[in-house]
């Protein structure tokens, strides 16, 4: 579930408010948005992909809340990971060309007799 909207990184663009498919965030005038309805978060990670400031952290735990430490998360370099995977963001090259799904069929399968 969404666990952090970092005020240290947020640029108040409100993109997360727009794009969250389950409407978890509320905008606040001249301030970072708030996580208003955490219980509606479906852990799809897509807000991270859209956040231009890498300010959001969706913990992988989907059904339980976990405590996170803002400084440690930023320090660890994990913020914005989904965006990096997709190659989204200024100065990056879109990574959809790296899609390897068509190679799956040629892979050796385990347990094959």
């Amino acid at each position: 579930m969404i666990e952090l909207l970092s005020h240290k990184l947020c640029i108040n663009c409100n993109v997360c408010v727009q794009v969250c498919p389950t409407n978890v965030f509320d905008s606040v005038p001249n301030q970072p948005p708030v996580i208003a309805r955490k219980e509606d978060c479906q852990t799809c990670f897509i807000c991270e992909a859209y956040c231009p400031a890498d300010a959001l952290y969706v913990a992988p735990q989907s059904h339980t809340s976990v405590v996170v430490n803002e400084d440690e998360l930023i320090e660890s370099g994990i913020m914005g990971e989904y965006r990096r995977i997709l190659g989204w963001g200024y100065g990056r090259k879109n990574n959809s060309e790296l899609d390897a799904a068509h190679k799956l069929r040629q892979l050796p399968r385990p347990y094959q007799s």
């Binding site: 969250c20 995977i85 879109n94 959809s96 892979l107």
Partner: protein, 547 residues
């Protein structure tokens, strides 16, 4: 009448209204707009992030033409005599012809020997490209605007829809010449990846407007995920897993080198199951980490090495998202029984493509692309045929359950308790994976109690209350159609497993239609085409089974 309605309502008119925010909705909107008509899309979330496709990567059933025959027969075989060869063929062809457009619009497919390989997509990027194209085409998109009910004209044809805007705290009404329902299947709020927007809204809206559903017994698809991150339902990496019990004993799970589909549910019914992707070679890792990146994000965040560590796994209900049940379409333009109403993508029954097997992954992606366009063109043609008369029609709203109280009591029903009540009947493997007459009757009785509660007053203090009251009612309705259909199909076929009728009955070659609100009904639509036999037995390939 709803208290939220009426005050400050947004009123719009259009030729074609598309309801939904995934690929089927996007393709429908583009195809309709290409016919020169005005198009509005309304989605409960955001067209670009809503639904199953946006939240992941996906294979597409789009083989190159030299492989069409092979894929065609493979699909037909999986459908166990219920699939339809002509439909499979037209879906493959339409999809194959459509994907170069996506490339023109800016999506970058991987290349092999300098040629684009258009057989899968990265979901967020695919949907971003589709959204951009729609906006450039002049399609108007209302995000965060869940549609709640259809409008009908006096002659029984559809005339638009009504809903609420989550962030503007108001209702809206869109009057339209024709409507496409492309708002997905129903995963019963299980948190299957990206699927909590998919609550079967289109199914209830269609039935209330006079439409029918089909193959709703195919509504019990489950998918594997880790237990700590019980949301990323991507099975492919687990193809290289070894499964163990708590003590570390190997549980097997493979038959003749292939994953046994009945292994995991049966093992989970006995106890905890752990998976470790220790069969993945470096070559395999290099591919699955790029094709199924979303499966590795939770591991990375949790500091787990899935190749060396054992992780508890579970099964998540995906309902009709990967199961095939949905709105019954009645012709090649994806029309429904309601004049002017069309259905596309996972909202529509995918029985032609999959019978009662899963259409998950590649086939559903292709289905969204092809039926989206057929429905969009069908709706545009219908809207044009109405001419200027379209918006002069007297219309009335059709929403009933969970919207308008018919009871004399003023007791407000509890949305959350009702959702939990539905989930208690639909999630457990012992009820929904292994079905029996006694179990189904017992569940239907409990669902009937929930249905009775819905006759009370819906909570409608806020826009969110309005949406969630209606959503609770929708889940109960879909669950009742699913189990009523499952009860009346007395055989085991594909994913519909009846422990009391364990054999597939060759004489039960029909699609089961269903519908009704207070009183449920089923009907057998017999398949009269001859059973087809493939010209030559093809080798086993898992075409499009990228999950």
């Amino acid at each position: 009448m709803l208290t939220i309605y009426g005050e400050n309502e947004l009123q719009l008119t259009t030729d074609v209204l598309v309801i939904g925010g995934g690929p089927a909705a996007a393709w429908a909107a583009w195809a309709a707009a290409s016919q020169g008509v005005k198009v509005i899309v309304v989605d409960k979330g955001f067209l670009g992030t809503s639904g199953a496709a946006a939240a992941s990567g996906n294979g597409i059933m789009a083989p190159s033409p030299e492989n069409w025959d092979k894929v065609l027969w493979e699909r037909y075989r999986i459908g166990k005599d219920l699939a339809n060869l002509r439909w499979i063929e037209r879906v493959i062809e339409k999809t194959w012809l459509s994907l170069p457009l996506v490339e023109d619009w800016g999506y970058r497919f991987p290349k092999e020997n300098g040629e684009s390989v258009r057989q899968s997509y990265y979901g967020p990027e695919y949907m971003r490209v589709l959204r951009k194209k729609l906006l450039r085409t002049g399609v108007q998109i209302l995000d965060q605007s869940p549609a709640l009910e259809l409008l009908l004209a006096d002659d029984g044809s559809v005339a638009g829809a009504r809903g609420v805007q989550r962030q503007n705290h108001r209702s809206y009404i869109v009057r339209a010449g024709a409507v496409v329902l492309a708002n997905g299947g129903c995963a019963f709020l299980s948190k299957a990846l990206g699927c909590n927007t998919n609550t079967g809204d289109g199914l209830l809206m269609a039935v209330e407007a006079g439409g029918e559903l089909s193959s709703m017994e195919a509504s019990n698809h489950y998918a594997i995920s880790t237990a700590f991150n019980a949301t990323v339902t991507r099975g492919v990496p687990f193809g290289w897993a070894s499964y163990t019990d708590e003590a570390g004993n190997d549980l097997g799970g493979y038959i003749n080198g292939r994953r046994d589909p009945s292994f995991l549910p049966n093992a989970l019914l006995k106890g905890d199951v752990y998976a470790r992707l220790d069969r993945a070679t470096d070559e395999v890792k290099a591919v699955i980490e790029k094709s199924h990146f979303i499966a590795f994000l939770p591991y990375k965040k949790a500091g787990i090495d899935p190749y060396t560590e054992r992780v508890p796994v579970t099964l998540i209900l995906e309902g009709t998202v990967r199961g095939t049940g949905g709105i019954r379409i009645v012709d090649d333009s994806c029309a429904t029984k309601v004049p002017g109403l069309y259905a596309a993508g996972d909202a529509a029954s995918r029985e032609f493509l999959a019978g009662l097997a899963s259409g998950g992954g590649g086939p559903n992606a292709a289905w969204a692309i092809s039926t989206g366009q057929w429905a969009g063109v069908g709706a545009a043609t219908f809207a044009k045929s109405l001419g200027a008369h379209a918006h002069e029609r007297v219309v009335y709203p059709t929403g009933q359950v969970g919207m308008r109280s018919h009871s004399s009591t003023n007791e407000t029903f509890d949305n959350e308790a009702i959702v939990r009540g539905v989930q208690a009947q639909m999630f457990p493997l012992e009820k929904n994976y292994l079905r029996s007459e006694q179990g189904l009757i017992d569940s239907l009785a409990k669902l009937e109690m929930l249905w009775k509660q819905l006759q009370g007053t819906p909570k409608q203090d806020t826009v969110r209350d309005v949406e969630f009251s209606r959503r609770a009612a929708t889940l109960v309705a879909v669950a009742r159609w699913a189990y009523f259909s499952a009860l009346h199909r007395r055989e085991t076929r594909s994913e519909h497993i009846r422990v009391d009728y364990p054999q597939t009955d060759p004489n039960q070659r029909y699609y089961q239609a269903t519908g009704g609100l207070e009183r449920l009904w089923v009907r057998r639509d017999w398949i009269t085409d001859e059973t087809a036999t493939p010209p030559v037995q093809t080798t086993h390939t898992t075409v499009g089974a990228l999950q």
